[in-house]
Amino acid sequence: MATMKTVRMKVNGVTHESEVEPRTTLVDFLRGPLALTGTHVGCEHGVCGACTILVDGRTARSCLMLAVQADGAEITTVEGLATPEGLHPIQQAFIEEHGLQCGFCTPGFLMSLVELLSENPDPSDAEIKDVLGGQICRCTGYQSILKSVHSAIAKLRTAGVAAQPPLA
């Protein structure tokens, strides 16, 4: 058995400290010991984007990171988007504009968009595509996702809130 390492990270505002094998990927750590199964695994080689999360506010492919690399980090997963009061505006927009079918890719898309819209509240189509070019959806053909993004932009503007959930 490999030597265990202690990692400490704040995930969706909750601090966790655990022993992990150094080879444990971050996505396996989140989905396993932390039971945050909303982050999905589609390829485990960095192409599909299903596993996208925020690490210190920046998107990362959690299949390509080790849990030990996230030691000390603040992490947001899809479970961190909604509050007890309701869904995040980007989540609402995806529902309203039929931005998903099977929904397996959706958490990754949402996390990518949280980053994009928090940095750039009014992106052009080219900027949106540039960011979403790294997320694969096999179901929708992307048109409804683009519509969802536009709806999310409008919702955030109306509500006057930033896309990124505040890091607790």
Binding site: T37, H45, F104, C139
Partner: protein, 808 residues
């Protein structure tokens, strides 16, 4: 009394439907956007172990020796299984054609790269994978056959020796006097086409948790099943179990598109469960496993097409020769994809005679599986290229050429030469609309200008039929048995008038739980929130198949409306008893039962349900007091095949015409789609938003097929595209914005007049894109007959053509 299932929305017991036919929000979505939906890999069970599978690195080899002792010594490893266990506890898999299945772990030899040879159950997936490295296998390589044409020759290495040949099936079908049509033709055009392997690639791979029950001698498997009942039947056969001892619990899954696969992994994990005395074994296929050996690969085809044409541009005959590379065995049921084209062999055209010369061939490649569209997309691609070849040669515009050959709208229902019946359609109206929407004349003018500037701009016009609501009889010619595909639903109303609908399939992405909710809410005058949908496992569900073959929207509509009608009849009896009249006098409208026109004789549905369940003293004597009913729907009028394979198979025939404008960059061979316009007719649209979603997603897959996606094998049978770095799925950059329009000719045969539309555009898109590419290449005098038209292929065609012209 016969159950009454409305054939149109107007016949629903509502004065104005509030949900059916409207773009309602999906009931599935909140769970999905919050990450709460329970995909199979989210599930853990007490005592659960993790399975990893060791796979063959060689395409064809004898297994000389397997030594698992070091793996078993690794702490955390609980069991290892090999071909010996499979031979002891299981049978070769069911297959199409029959008799081409193999064991889930072979004892004697491997037949393709990625074939499972051993598997480990351990306390974690990491340990299980470590253990794989400790298993020692000695292989003796055998000659590999990876080319189906070579595989058909005498003396070829045999993939399955016992069969004595690699030819799985060879048959020539003749429908009408094709030879006479060709003899009488003014023109005959012939061309060869190559469609390379591609496949489904849902973003979630397959996964399951398998349990062998040593006391009941049965199995329970939780998993990402597209069709749980079908999986259950297959497992009963593989493990020699009575079918009532096999229970499948389907979980929501991240897409399937026909290619979820999972049979081998399920069987391997079941062997491990048996070996560990019944521990639950989780097997989650990883992406590289899926690509190499999952339900991933489909349609590896070599075609020869000929058409007979009159001077007026009427196509009178069609001959198709197909060599279909099915891979190492028939367990993936990829062969059904060669049978399905019979359901729309001659497309939307009046072609009166056709011949199909079909060879299914085994090679040392992964077994072929189904993929969305189930076989017609390559056939349509080739047929549509032939239409263009003929049109150009006769100097007729390609859109006009199709118009001349369309089945006229007053000819429906229309039986095509290969036997299927098309229910309804107005193909010219679809064409007219798409021509108008695309401003076709203007596009042709723009193209003319572009050509004058030497640019390779092309316009594709393609038209195809989407057979909807499959029947098993459609696959009889490749050995699949049965007529009818029952789909059941149970509608249950509680004492407060709230409804639970139980179905036999899990979420997959098409929004079918939403559809069920819409139907029941409109039928009983409820809000959508008053209706819940839940899935039953195969031990408790009514007969059900689930999604596939563009069937579920229509089939579940039939099942749900049938169940609602049965409840209505019961409730009418109750209400008639209370109102002291005959049940025939009671009508349901907008959620209220009563005597029409008598305002004091009205009872809301919830009150009727409350009476049935909570006031038995008020009920008439012979009434069944449960406000609950099950209905099992299957398409009427399906028949067994005749001696030429003809039958009424698919119930509905949706139709579409797509127009594509694109430009090829001669320096890179890259294609840019500049305009994509389509009009389709899938009958009544039950939820227009989900219909659009299916269409858009299917266009994307069709573009992937035409331009990007390909499983490449070398001659040693090594897969060269084993990751998503090499197997290219369309991204948001590859899929254009669509202009879409619709024509609606309701089906006279189906519930609410809806036509199957789940497969959608993939029937037409690859054909349309390839028509446009070939249109762009006309000035160079060359053609692209191979799919995908990847940049390397187009570049080569363009440069060879230019060299030829410059050296002339």
């Amino acid at each position: 009394m016969a159950v009454k299932i409305p054939n149109s929305i107007d016949e629903l017991p509502t004065s104005s439907p509030r949900f059916i036919g409207h773009r309602v929000k999906r009931v599935e979505d909140t769970g999905l956007v919050t990450g709460r939906t329970e995909f199979i890999d989210n599930v853990s069970m007490t005592g659960m172990l993790h399975c990893a599978i060791l796979r063959s690195p060689i395409a064809h080899a004898k297994i000389e020796k397997i030594d698992v002792s070091a793996a078993l010594d690794l702490p955390g490893v609980v069991a290892v299984v090999t071909g010996e266990d499979a031979a002891k506890w299981s049978h070769p898999a069911a297959s199409s054609p029959d008799g081409w299945g193999t064991y889930c772990l072979p004892a004697d030899k491997v037949r393709f790269v990625g074939e499972p040879v051993a598997a480990v159950a351990a306390t974690s997936r990491y340990i299980a994978e470590d253990a794989l490295e400790l298993i020692e296998i000695e292989y003796e390589p055998l000659d590999v056959v990876s080319d189906p044409v070579a595989a058909m020759e005498d003396g070829s290495p045999l993939v399955i020796e016992e069969r004595g040949s690699n030819v799985m099936l060879q048959r020539v079908f003749n429908w009408g006097d094709t030879d006479a049509a060709f003899a009488a033709a003014d023109h005959v055009f012939s061309e060869k086409f190559r469609w390379n392997r591609l496949g489904a690639n849902p973003i979630e791979t397959y996964g399951c948790i398998s349990e062998w029950d040593p006391t009941e001698l049965g199995i329970t498997v939780r998993g990402a099943f597209q069709s749980p009942s079908h999986m259950a039947l297959g497992r009963a056969m593989t493990f020699g179990l009575p079918s009532n001892k096999v229970r499948m619990i389907a979980h929501p899954h991240g897409g399937s598109f026909g290619g979820k696969g999972g049979v081998r992994g399920t069987d391997v994990s079941l062997l491990l469960s048996r070996k560990t005395g019944g521990r639950p074994i989780k097997w989650i296929e990883d992406r590289m496993e899926y690509l190499a050996a999952g339900g991933s690969q489909a349609w590896d085809r070599r075609y020869e097409f000929s058409i007979a044409v009159t001077n007026d541009g009427i196509v009178t005959g069609l001959k198709v020769k197909l060599v279909d590379d099915i891979g190492a065995n028939g367990e993936g049921f990829g062969a059904i994809s060669a049978a399905k084209p019979l359901a729309a062999f001659t497309g939307p055209y009046t072609i009166g005679a056709a011949q199909y010369d079909l060879s299914l061939v085994a090679t040392n490649k992964a077994p072929a599986s189904p993929y969305r569209g189930m076989g017609p997309p390559p056939h349509n691609f080739a047929l549509e290229q032939m239409m263009d070849i003929a049109a150009r040669s006769l100097g007729i515009d390609t859109a006009e050429f199709r118009r001349r050959n369309f089945i006229p709208k007053d000819a429906f229902p229309y039986i095509i030469p290969s036997g299927n019946e098309y229910d309804s359609g107005d193909y010219e109206a679809v064409l007219d609309k798409v021509l108008a929407l695309s401003e076709y004349e203007k596009l042709r003018e723009e193209q003319k200008l572009a050509r004058e500037q030497g640019r390779l701009v092309g316009i594709g016009v393609a038209s195809a039929i989407e057979p909807g609501v499959f029947d098993w009889n459609a696959y009889a010619v490749v050995g699949v048995q049965g007529t009818g595909v029952p789909e059941g639903a149970t509608v249950s109303i509680d004492i407060l008038g709230k409804v639970m609908v139980r179905v036999g399939f899990a979420l997959e992405g098409q929004g079918q739980y939403t559809l069920v909710t819409q139907l029941v809410a409109d039928y009983f005058g409820l809000e959508m929130e008053d209706v819940s949908v839940t899935m039953l496992d195969t031990a408790s569900a009514p007969p059900a198949f689930g999604p596939g073959g563009s069937r579920l929207g229509v089939a579940i509509t039939g099942a749900v409306l049938g169940a609602c009608d049965r409840i209505r009849v019961k409730m009418c009896k109750v209400v008639a008893g209370l109102m002291q009249t005959e049940p025939e006098n009671i009508q349901l409208m907008d959620g209220v039962f009563g005597i029409p026109g008598v305002s004091e004789a009205q009872m809301p549905m919830a009150q009727v349900a409350g009476t049935m369940l909570g006031a038995s003293h008020l009920l008439p004597p012979d009434v069944d007091p449960r406000p609950e009913a099950t209905h099992v729907w299957t398409a009427a009028g399906r028949t067994p095949v005749d001696e030429e394979g003809r039958t009424k198979s698919y119930l509905t025939a949706a139709h579409a015409v797509h127009i594509v404008l694109l430009e090829i960059d001669p320096d890179t061979g890259m294609v840019e789609i500049q305009k994509y316009v389509l009009v389709d007719d899938c009958g009544t649209r039950l939820n227009p938003a989900t219909v659009e979603g299916q269409t858009q997603g299917s266009v994307a897959q069709g573009i992937g097929a035409a331009l990007l996606e390909e499983y490449v094998y070398d001659e040693d049978g090594q897969l060269l595209t084993s990751t998503y770095m090499d197997y290219l799925l369309p991204t948001i950059h590859d899929v254009p914005a669509l202009v879409m329009g619709e024509v609606v000719t309701p089906s006279p045969f189906s519930p609410l007049g809806a036509k199957g539309c789940g497969e959608g555009a993939i029937h037409t898109t690859p054909a349309a894109v390839m028509c446009a590419i070939n249109d762009a290449l006309v000035p160079l005098g060359t053609r692209a007959n191979e799919v995908p038209a990847a940049p390397n292929r187009l570049w080569k065609l363009i440069h060879t053509a230019r060299e030829n012209t410059s050296s002339d």
